[in-house]
Amino acid sequence: MTSATDTERPRAGRALRVRATMVIAALLLVFALLTARLAQLQIVEADTYRHYAERQQVLSRELSAPRGRVFDRRGRLLAASVQRYSIFADPKGVREPDATAAILSEVLGVSRRRLEQDLRKDRYFVWVRRQVPDRLAQRVRRLSLPGVHMRRESKRLYPQGRLGAHVIGFTDIDGRGLAGVERTMDALLRGRPGMETVLCDGGRRIFRSELDRVDREPFQGFDVHLSLDAYIQQIAEEELARAFERHGPEAAGALVLDARDGSVLAMASLPAFDPQNPTATPVANQRNIAITDAYEFGSVMKPFSIAAALDAGAVTPKTEFDCHMGEWHIGARRLRDVQGHGVLSVSDILCHSSNIGTAQVAMRLGIEGLYAGMRAFGFGRQTGIALPGEIGGIVRPLRAWNSYSVVSVSFGQELALTPLAVAGAFTAFANDGVVVHPRIIESISVPDGEAVYTAGEPITGNRAVGPTVAAEVLHMMRRVVAEGTGRNARMDEYPVAGKTGTAQLAREDGRGYSEGRYLASFAGLAPYPDCRVVVLVFLKNPTREGYYGGRTAAPVVRDIIRRTLRYMQVPESETPAPDGGPV
């Protein structure tokens, strides 16, 4: 037995050892196969997986470029962007939606119910509140709520508040220009966003690492310098607001143009809005009615008819017409003047704003002559100002005119014009008969650097009438203020030339004129005879204390001119013009 086991034992042990070795060898073989598999994954197919990894790990992200700034002509800041924190949530990472919503709604003042719904959404991103003040952002950060994050965003600010809102316009919360210069200059203001490459984790959250790189630096948007003068704009808005208060019109507007180069110094519309929060007021308030609405201006257009007749040689300032004591029948129509006159010279006709006289002047000029004259002043075309929504107005083609049109057009009916077009046309009388194009952009420059665009000087426009005619009509308009219908625009400090206008408003349905609704307006140039500014004020349907342009609009123009010229340091007249006397 002993010998048997002694001889058998080593053999048997060997069998066990062989089997154990086989088991371990099989395991080692598996390891060898796994090594081969690793070689396949990490050497042969490595590029495929590296590519896939890069696709999911690396994010190419935009680096927002700061939006350009808007300045007035003297470098006052009108619009600029600042960096603010925006708070957002990752609903997947929020642990207690209700409690989180309760805390956030209290700190940030957002709707709790909306937040509760948002935080339960099957999404990775919802905004909580955007562009909050740093103080609130700090409070939220200190709460360190899970799933609530913040990122920096650019917020547009308008340091001057509502001032010039219709011109400057506004942006949406993402910084896209929606109105005004913000919209027309959007491409330049926006700049060019940069690109960066960053690493992200499986939840698409970005984490900073040394591998981050900026592929393209962001380029800050250009600075836009407007021709607007914030102070003159302030004057215009204040004076217009006062008239608005006093006369209760539906809408009103004031324009101040540099008479020599057409720069828009002020462009005010009422009712207005806050560019910081444009949705707080009705959408209609956002209309820049100086360019988006066209009106039949009435008597304000008489200087253009008379200038056209003078320029064509049809009449001279001294040519006399019988004004039939304020009532004259032409065909089936009856013309009336506010005050009856007998025989008036052309100069007197304008001075007293006689419809009957103006009609006769235009009839002597003829239908083609009047049409050509109106076109020469640029009516019926856009002025081309760099503001959105400008319309061209309506000047009907000659073939659409009827026998009565020449009469209507001569005193400003049958042609609907934007206030800016009318104000622009008045520059002709200060520029020896040349209409300069109104402009709002003074220059565009790289941020705090050299200008890439300058409006240039002088701006040439269309010659509408000859220099002599321009001087003659300007003189007539001086008489309007000195002794005619525009006496309310007269003041001691500066000699003003101008023209009143009181026109029935066209009915909303386009059929004739509405009874008792008027557009009161006044266009003034000062200081006569070397006029520096053109001011146009119009009130749509004034309801209190008169409706005549001479009564409602002329005092506004007077006050605007006085304050503006003082601001521009134009010397005041030493000897006040005697009342009613020739100037």
Partner: protein, 426 residues
């Protein structure tokens, strides 16, 4: 060669071996295990990225506990485990059942596997069950050495018991650990002499059950189909495997550098645990991952030497079981990460996060070192069976050998024939 001279020569050898420490198998094993544990420590910290200090502290605490388990295993005579194998089995069953009780077992990631004992980690009975079942199997084999080829003792009894244990693990559910444990124990039984025919029959018989287990549990079926074609559903069932492949593949030859892996940032679920190897592949590349595989292969090679050097059937079977356990689990983990087998939640021993896994693995390592040490100091052990068991032991072995001799089989455990150190089994 006389008996005395042989003993003298042996003692001289022993002294020489004692001087040159790294030649001792136990020292080699300890160094290899230590290398793996340190590697695991580094990778655990690397895989976390953020919360560096907290992770390091936690992992150091776990490693300390693991070290205690290692020292326990290495410094006790491994026969201790044989003496208490029945008690250990009972404890294992109690723990495996307790974890299924809702009040006791904690549910994480859809499975009830943890018991909170106030340790820095959740106590996971199935991790320790792997080791205790290895101990029990080894002890069983030794006790039934003579009857191991019979159907009842070599197959039915152990398989029934193991099946019960694995069934409990399966209930958690933990498919991977159940299969792994069963596979390791059956391998030990096979090596120790169970007839392969029974196992083939058992396999054939369990096929319907396996089919049921795979095809009636939707997530397992999804995993199987996802394994076959992960790109068919890259955002759903195939997501984890694809992310693992992307991690390993994008590592390339040299890797992205330690700590520079990106897939662990919420792309790859379980990056620090069931897919720890993927992070190694990404950060250390082909060179690093093959280095780890070589380290594991070297460890298996050394363990095999310890297995073959065992001086008694229990030591042989236990060393083999623990070696196969560590080897198969590592291989399975890497195979899962590289998409060679369907996704199963198996940790990488010594490296994956998970306290139970680390402590149990280090306990197994300690037992292996203890077995290795027993071969170096033969004079320390009395290889006679324990006094109380002696009649039973001798009777069992002798009757088994007689039966074997009659059957003409040649299966008797034999340790290294080294002079007078032979275990007296006859």
């Amino acid at each position: 060669m006389s008996q005395i001279s042989a003993t003298e020569e042996h003692l001289q050898t022993r002294q020489r071996v004692a001087r040159i420490g790294w030649r001792r198998p136990s020292v080699r094993l300890t160094l290899l295990f230590g290398a793996l544990v340190c590697f695991g420590l580094v990778m655990a910290v690397s895989a976390t990225g953020t919360e560096f200090t907290a992770t390091l502290t936690h992992r150091l605490g776990l490693t300390g506990l693991g070290l205690c388990a290692f020292l326990l295993g290495a410094n006790t005579d491994y026969h201790l485990w044989r003496r208490h194998h029945v008690g250990l089995l009972l404890l294992t069953f109690i723990a495996l059942m307790a974890v299924l009780v809702p009040g006791i077992g904690a549910v994480r990631w859809g499975a009830r596997r943890w018991i909170d004992l106030g340790l820095p980690f959740g106590f996971q009975p199935s991790e320790f069950a792997k080791v205790t079942l290895c101990i029990w199997t080894a002890a069983y084999c030794e006790r039934n050495l003579g009857r191991i080829r019979t159907f009842t003792h070599g197959f039915l009894a152990p398989l029934a018991l193991l099946g019960l244990a694995c069934g409990l693990i399966l209930l958690q559910p933990d498919f991977g650990t159940a299969v792994l444990t069963g596979l390791v124990c059956v391998t030990v039984l096979m090596v120790m002499g169970t007839r392969p025919l029974f196992l083939l029959l058992a396999c054939a018989a369990s096929l319907p059950l396996l089919h049921q287990l795979v095809f009636d549990v939707p997530y397992r079926l999804r995993r199987v189909t996802a394994f076959l074609d992960p790109w068919g559903d890259p955002r759903g069932a195939g997501y984890q495997l694809i992310q693992s492949l992307v991690a390993i593949g994008s590592g390339g030859l040299t890797g992205l550098g330690l700590g520079a892996g990106r897939q662990k940032a919420e792309f790859l679920p379980g990056a620090h645990n069931d897919f720890a190897f993927s992070v190694i592949g990404e950060e250390l590349g082909f060179i690093g991952s093959v280095g780890l595989i070589l380290l594991l292969a070297l460890l298996l090679w050394q363990c095999l030497r310890v297995v073959k050097g065992s001086r008694d059937p229990f030591g042989f079977a236990l060393a083999l079981g623990l070696t196969v356990l560590l080897g198969v689990q590592s291989a399975a983990h890497i195979a899962v990460a590289t998409g060679c087998v369907p996704t199963k939640g198996l940790s990488l021993p010594f490296i994956s996060a998970g306290g139970s896994s680390l402590v149990a693995s280090m306990l197994a390592a300690g037992i292996l070192v203890s077995i290795a040490r027993s071969q170096e100091q033969p004079e320390r052990f009395d290889f006679s069976p324990p006094a109380g068991d002696a009649p039973l032991y001798e009777q069992a072995v002798n009757s088994g050998l007689r039966k074997l001799a009659r059957a003409g089989a040649s299966i008797v455990p034999t340790p290294e024939p080294e002079g007078g150190d032979e275990p007296r089994v006859s």
